[in-house]
């Protein structure tokens, strides 16, 4: 195993840490409180959302935004500490992938939410990020990867940009859920409290389209950069990645050519993201011996 020079300093733990592997293990354990703090911030946003209807006043916008912003800061600190420890982008196991995905979702929400005045998106985003992160914390997936590859900028670019693309797809999924909720209320004439706080249908559909294009562009860049990593490309990963690319490409083409009605596009965003996340897990499960 290559020497991890990053451990000479702030993360040295005296007698407990003997050798690089132990140092790494110790440092990895130290960053978890940051992730826990981040998860608690998202939990606060979820609780706020759940309590809002009881108060008969649904104003989760600002509180959710602040809670998500705080959660994002803790996530960033976590990824920074772990990345520093690993000496590379922290995407070496499924745990890190999920945390990076949650971070990407929060990042795109913080960038896109206010721009499109989709403040209520926070009420839908926080539960998604909370679930992803809780799964990462609870499931036994934080296993240090047995094979340690030297730092590879192309590989790191490929992995990080692909996960950020997943973040955009996740937000498109969130906007899709909001669209479906709003559309259903308008169709059935049963208007709940949330109806008055959700954005108009046309605004939501415009956000879905833009998020899909953003995600698709990033994912395409990630896919292309994957071919420059230099290492052997596992077939299962290529097939999985292409399947996701084709699925989203088909949605965009269907939207562009008006094959699908807006409601169908919104529903497909939800299906596509669920499938893409499942595939991410499946690929990792199948290719245990290959770093993501």
């Amino acid at each position: 195993m290559r020497k991890v020079n990053a451990w000479q300093g702030p993360f040295r733990c005296g007698k407990v840490c003997q050798g690089d592997a132990q140092l790494l293990h110790c440092a990895l354990a130290m960053d978890r409180p940051l992730l826990l703090a981040s998860t608690l911030c998202y939990l606060a946003a979820v609780v706020r959302t759940l309590l809002a209807p009881r108060e008969k006043i649904w104003h989760p916008g600002r509180a959710n935004f602040l809670a998500i912003a705080a959660g994002f800061l803790f996530q960033t600190a976590f990824l920074s500490v772990r990345g520093h420890a690993l000496g590379r982008c922290p995407l070496t196991n499924l745990f890190e992938v999920f945390v990076f995905l949650a971070w990407s979702v929060a990042l795109i929400y913080l960038l896109v939410g206010p721009a499109y005045r989709l403040s209520l998106m926070g009420a839908f985003t926080a539960p998604l990020v909370f679930l992803i992160q809780t799964f990462a914390l609870v499931a036994p997936v934080d296993v240090p990867h047995p094979i340690r590859l030297p730092a590879n900028p192309w590989l790191e670019f490929h992995a990080s940009i692909s996960i950020i693309a997943y973040g955009a797809f996740a937000l498109a999924c969130v906007a899709g859920v909001m669209y479906l909720v709003q559309e259903r209320q308008l169709k059935t004439h049963e208007l709940l409290s949330v109806f008055y706080h959700l954005p108009p249908l046309t605004t939501l559909f415009s956000a879905i389209t833009r998020l899909l294009w953003l995600g698709f562009s990033l994912y395409t860049a990630g896919l292309i950069s994957g071919f420059f990593t230099g290492g052997p490309l596992p077939r299962v990963k290529i097939i999985g990645a292409l399947a996701v690319w084709f699925f989203y490409g088909m949605i965009l083409q269907g939207r562009h050519r008006r094959w699908f009605a807006p409601k169908r596009v919104a529903a497909l965003c939800v299906v596509a993201f669920s499938a893409a996340v499942s595939l991410l897990w499946a690929i990792d499960f199948v290719s245990q011996n290959h770093p993501i």
Partner: protein
Amino acid sequence: MNLFCIGLSHHTAKVEIRERYALQRSEEALRAQSGCAEALILPTCNRVEVYGAAPAQIATEKIAECLVGGGAVTLQDANAFYRHEKQACVQHLFRVVSGLDSMVIGETEILGQVKKAYANARESGSAGPCLHRLFQRAFRVAKQVRSRTEITRGAVSVGSVAVELAVKIFGDLSERKVLILGAGETSERTARALSSRGVSDIRVSNRSRERAENLAALVRGRAVGFDQWPRECGEIDILVASTSANEPLLTPALLSPLLRERSDRPLFIIDLAVPRDVAPEVNEMEGVYLYDIDSLQSIAQQSLALRRQQIAAGEEIIAAHVSDFVMRLTGVGETAAAQIPIPGALDQTSLRVSEL
């Protein structure tokens, strides 16, 4: 200083009685006749109230006589008057200005009306330190009740529900195209409501071309021949149907080929006609949102019910302000009593101080 409110409203008097007292009397005359140090008349379509401050008790009948212009007040009219003093007066005004005492709970028009009445009293010099503080606080209370509760949420009339739904589907309405089918009174009201929300492209179609042109002129739209309206459905975003046809004019069979031309734009149909102009099956079609008069009325009722639920939250805010205001007023009243009975003596400086 005795702070009081004497008046009648939709709760206590029918319109026949209210209208007798609604004629605007001058506050100066009222003060001169009744002996009030300060007076403010609040005349709206649902209430006529006098808020006043006086060193001695003023009889309700005296105020009623002043309002009616010196004429006789019948027993029936006298029974319709209510009187609130001190704390009850403060509470009543806070409830009125917050829309809790309105016929349509949570309506915001009352705030503008109270502000106008206050401005008139200020201008005439009839509002002194007591009323200034009272009304300034009342405006603060109204703002808090509106922002901290959902008392104003949701539309409560058919026209405003239709406009609110249109906004929830399309967002900005200024670029939307509207077709009004039938040029009756209901269509006119809805067309005006849409026009007030920025819709500039309004087309009117009616069996009588002349009536279509008249309505089109009123809402700055254009008339369309009655045989051409189905073709317009491919272009428009909102259809308001209110004809007297006995059979549905718009059916899925008629709309289906037109929807293909519309790409993915939603179509919002407001069917105000009885019998209905649009077959209910149209609502099953992708991207079409059909609301008939019953659906709109039901939403208006729901909003009203929600507003009623919010009354308790509003009352809590008001109660806190009432006790605080009354506590402070006791101090002001003592100092003001020595200075007040100088009609018209209020200048801009004292007004600014009282506003602070």
